[in-house]
């Protein structure tokens, strides 16, 4: 029994790295612009389907299709910003309706192009077992994208904290006029943050395709998962995303092991509610912080 618990702890942590990958883009946009991109999950899904096409039609390994998936999703992300930036008033609220609509359009686009069938990767390497210490079982894809999640979280944290444009982005979030007085064009920094969110969503999509199975109406589930992790983390906290994602991952796998896999999604939601009750600003949140 304790072996099973340890195994689900391990699997949960691995899943956390990959969940963080899905949530990072949403957290970045939310933390810096107070815009919740409800089309985020659909953007991840779009990348997953591009990886599927690369594999099934052209025989390209999904990992090698990352540049293509990223390019497509970055383009989509910039188009989303193009629309969001046209909102004249109450951007925080109106962008919800706008991005929700974009999500529906994207879902139907995916449905039209790729049909409603369930897809998953046929490249055997991704499903090869990786066994650590004779006790912990996982697949290559899980380990690969766990590491990718860790690496990209760290990279994003560094970028926001230390780079010129990362710092400028936080400055724009903190005080738009004062940032302009420092020579910052707020639109440039916001486009950059949407480009980075697109890049992260693109990689997350390929991860999704190789780790799990995909179908066209998965998009909003992904958005909800990313949103729950973002809130759990404390709005805008990047290291919090990793911790929040791992908590969700572990809780889900523990639920599967100890109770039933039917309750998997419920656990995440219950944790979400508990955090909202006990610590409304999230695990790492203080009011309005970014970074």
């Amino acid at each position: 029994m304790s072996e099973l618990v340890l195994q689900s702890l391990y699997a949960g942590l691995l899943a956390g790295g990959y969940y963080a990958l899905i949530a990072l883009g949403l957290t970045l946009i939310f933390g810096t612009m107070k815009v919740i991109n409800l089309a985020h999950g659909e953007m991840v899904l779009l990348a997953a389907y591009i990886a599927y096409t690369a594999e099934s039609v052209y025989g390209i390994n999904p990992v090698l299709a990352i540049p293509l998936a990223v390019a497509a999703v970055v383009l989509t992300s910039v188009m989303v910003y193009g629309l969001v930036s046209r909102i004249r008033q109450d951007r925080e609220l109106n962008s919800l309706i706008l991005t929700f609509g974009i999500g529906i359009v994207l879902t139907n686009f995916v449905l039209m192009v790729w049909s409603a069938d369930i897809r998953s990767t046929n490249v055997p390497w991704f499903n090869e077992p990786v066994v650590i210490g004779e006790a912990f079982y996982s697949t290559s894809a899980q380990v690969l994208f766990f590491l990718a999640g860790l690496g990209l979280t760290a990279a994003l944290w560094w970028w926001l904290g230390r780079s010129w444009y990362g710092r400028a982005l936080r400055a724009v979030a903190s005080n738009r006029n004062a940032a302009m007085l420092m020579g910052v064009n707020p639109r440039t920094t916001e486009v950059i943050s949407f480009v980075i969110a697109g890049l992260l969503a693109g990689i997350a999509g390929v991860a999704l395709y190789t780790v799990a199975v995909i179908h066209p109406d998965l998009g909003h589930n992904l958005t909800i998962k990313a949103f729950v992790i973002t809130v759990l983390a404390g709005l805008g906290s990047i290291p919090g995303v990793l911790v929040g994602a791992m908590l969700i991952g572990v809780a889900e796998y523990m639920t599967i092991t100890l109770a039933s896999s039917a309750l998997q999604e419920l656990t995440g939601m219950v944790m979400f509610l508990l955090v909202l009750f006990i610590r409304p600003s999230g695990l790492f949140g203080s009011r309005g912080r970014v970074g």
Binding site: R167, R170, S174, N175, A178, L181, M182, G183, N185
Partner: protein, 238 residues
Amino acid sequence: MLEVDKLRAGYGAINILWDLSLTIREGQTTVIVGPNGAGKTTLLRAIMGLIKASRGDIRLNGRTTANRATWDIVHDGVIMIPEGRLVFRDMTVEDNLMMGAFPRHCRKGAKQNLAQVYDLFPRLAERRHQAAGSLSGGEAQMVAMGRGLMEEPKVVLIDEPSLGLAPVVVDEIFRIIARLKREGRTIVLVEQNTHRALAVADHVYLMRSGQVALSEPASAVNLDRLHDLYFAAEAAGA
């Protein structure tokens, strides 16, 4: 160097500046005094392009800044040190200061300038990792000043640096302004504390209800007459 020509500007339907004209000469310290609501801050905001002129023109070295964005004006070397409340509250002191070096031509000297700012304001060095929002009013003003120094400005617009601060801090702030003046930078200082401001001024403007009420070289200013004009304006405005 900087010319404001019959400028009319304000916020939406409310007009503040009424055909205001003034000239800022290179290397000089120009002090603008005037009662609350005279439009001093509005003038600085208009020069920085944060609000657009509805009529008139602002020229920098003979070139109009009318269609230029705030960040372009900053890249041309004209910067504004806003009052201390406009620091980035949820960023650390050091991040605030480093934001000053954002314009491309300032980045190379950023490390050196940062060390210099910490030299000038040792208190900021102590609090470098603290959120700027947790600082006292005086410390926040120091952050705003330090951030401005990081921008390596040619023209510095300073908005009420002594507002609501303890006399010791005001001394410190004016020491920095005197230093900027010695370095040969062009300074526009908006200040309520006329006595302190006159000590560093080359030229003085008195603003009243969005217009220039008095323009004199600092040496010719009679403080009593200035105060009479200053308070008369307040009485007339009430």
